[in-house]
């Protein structure tokens, strides 16, 4: 039954311990920042799955756990039906070959002293692929032409500072594809790219997905690009998934009050809005993950909250219809 998923996370948690003062050590009190607090979802093969949320909601931490850059505190990570939550070094190396990442900041994710050639060659050397230099060179040129960097020969000898933001993000994409992975985790890949080239990069990523049979986990705070780019969206709030479904379900028929608020807050390039003060349905800002509110964790900001939202146990993610999930007890009333 699970075979439809390439990756599955089950009740994944990441709690970061907070430094304690002396009295807390004596009393054996423990405090945690619950960055990710029980997240479950599955990504189907060939799918583009988006994790959306405000900063601090745990979307990047989730991605890092899937990349195995963070050890999970609890929960399971299943890749191609194998449990990879705890693996030894050798298996980890194999796993990393299958799962690659594109980072947000193309200016920081490349060693400034590496030429494009070195950037692209490194994964091949680490994984001891292609012993022959010429073979590696072929592979690198191939990788560059896939991301439409032409002519590849010329770009191989360039340093990152000689490239524009869009070009760098293309090189970062080429680097992540050098090992022909199955899953690519993308952490806000276009948020630092200019608007005019942003769509071009997304378009290229979509093409590459079809061409190379990839699966993407797309992390973003931008609902508008997610609508155009992804197949399914999970909205995160304070370490939990609050709503999950297709872009149409999430954006046109959103159920959770948080998702509704997020959508209401997005600006749209339409005339006649200048003199209207837009209604922002939720107040305040995201609370600290060290101090998660009792009951439904959204209740302090929720315009529909009732005392039952505080006293009842936290709402679970339940299916509304057709794979549209929501974690709110009162979503039918609002």
């Amino acid at each position: 039954m699970n075979s439809e998923y390439l990756v599955e996370v089950k009740d994944l948690k990441k709690w970061f311990p907070v430094r304690r003062d002396f009295s807390q050590v004596i009393k054996k009190e423990r405090k945690f920042v619950k960055a990710v607090d029980g997240v479950s979802f599955g990504i189907k093969k060939g799918e583009i799955f988006a994790l959306i949320g405000e900063s601090g909601c745990g979307k990047t931490t989730t991605a890092k756990m899937i990349m195995k850059l963070h050890e999970a505190t609890a929960g399971q990570l299943i890749f191609e039906n194998n449990d990879v939550t705890n693996v030894d070094k050798k298996r980890l190396l194999e796993y990393r070959k299958e799962v690659q990442m594109i980072f947000q900041d193309p200016y920081a994710s490349m060693n400034p002293r590496f030429k494009v050639r070195d950037v692209l060659e490194e994964p091949l050397l680490i994984h001891k692929l292609y012993a022959d230099r010429d073979e590696r060179l072929e592979k690198m040129k191939d990788g560059l032409s896939k991301v439409k960097i032409t002519p590849p020969e010329e770009f191989l000898e360039r340093y990152p500072h000689m490239l524009s933001g869009g070009q760098r993000q293309r090189i970062a994409t080429a680097r992540s594809l050098m090992l022909s992975p199955k899953l690519v985790v993308m952490d806000e890949p276009v948020s630092m790219i200019d608007l005019s080239t942003r769509a071009e990069i997304l378009y290229m990523l979509k093409e590459l997905k079809n061409e190379m049979d990839l699966t993407y986990l797309y992390i973003t705070h931008d609902l508008s690009t997610a609508r155009y780019f992804t197949d399914r969206i999970a909205v995160m709030y304070l370490g939990k998934v609050v709503e999950m479904g297709t872009p149409e379900q999430i954006i046109d028929n959103s159920l959770h009050p948080y998702t509704k608020a997020l959508i209401a807050a997005v600006c749209e390039p339409k005339s006649g809005k200048v003199n209207i003060v837009k209604e922002v349905p939720i107040k305040g800002e995201i609370p600290s993950a060290a101090n998660i509110p009792q009951g439904c964790r959204f209740h302090p900001r929720c315009p529909y909250a009732k005392p039952s939202c505080i006293s009842n146990p936290e709402p679970k993610l339940i299916e509304h219809n057709n794979d549209h999930f929501v974690a709110c007890d009162r979503y039918k009333e609002i």
């Binding site: 508008s224 608020a261 997020l262 749209e268």
Partner: protein
Amino acid sequence: MNMEKVLEVKNLKMYYFTSKGVVKAVDDISFELKKGETLGLVGESGCGKTTTGFSLLKMPSPPGKIVGGEILINGEDIMPLSENEMRKSVRWQKIAMVFQGAMNCLTPVYTIERQMMETLQLHKPMSKEEARETMKKYLGYVGLSEDILKRYPHELSGGMKQRVTIAMALFLEPEVIICDEPTTALDVVVQAQIINLLKDLKEKLKLSFIFITHDLATEAEVSDRIAVMYAGKIVEVGTNQQIYGEQGPAHPYTQKLLGATPKLHENVKELAFIPGTPPDLLEPPTGCRFHPRCPVAMEKCKKEEPILNEIEPNHFAACWRCLNEQ
């Protein structure tokens, strides 16, 4: 609407003199700002919009220099003023700026009170008590409680820090406030809150804003008029209705940029993009600077540079096509 001009910029030129050559970051731009109006300055990174903002304060970052032009505030040219006069009587008194990334423009080692006090006391001789009263008044305007005065910037959230910087820009009741991407680093919900705050303040205190951003969608919500910049030039100026209305913008660059802006409530399968990259300003293209990326470029566009022409009342575009169609 009151048609009084608060700010008038004429032929402003700001060049960076680098070792590789002269980068014409702001190249001969003119615009005006009326009282109580918000003028949006949009463009991609590197088009000169932030540089324009800093030039208005006569604070070009080195190796930049203002090469020419006039900046008139209430009809008075500030170009001939010395650095000392600028600091004493213009910056923050007449023209203030809210910088990009509020998290980085507050000193981490001072309390909010101390930083605010500094701004106030340097410009106006006033006692600590008076200053504290002023602070409280303006914190009230931006929706913050006065107990944040005792706190340090790291104890505040991004949205609160942005509110503090806005309050600090308001202190001396300037004529013009330049907001340089005030909402870019914030989450959508907080972004909407800040935009509402700015609209509210504009209404209440009759302020005039220059709102700089790369995001056409945000601009649609805040600006009465929009100026679009490309490669150091203003390519189109129009009212909100002219740019975002049914008819759509006139300049091909604005049209394309608007097409590339994702719209949440429209189910578009393919987003448009502009092929190519913005030009290197060390060697800008001849003729119209947009011609290498323009889908409707003509022979003339490669040779002659178009100037801003009024194509309909209050709507200006620098494009040969727009002129021909007239």
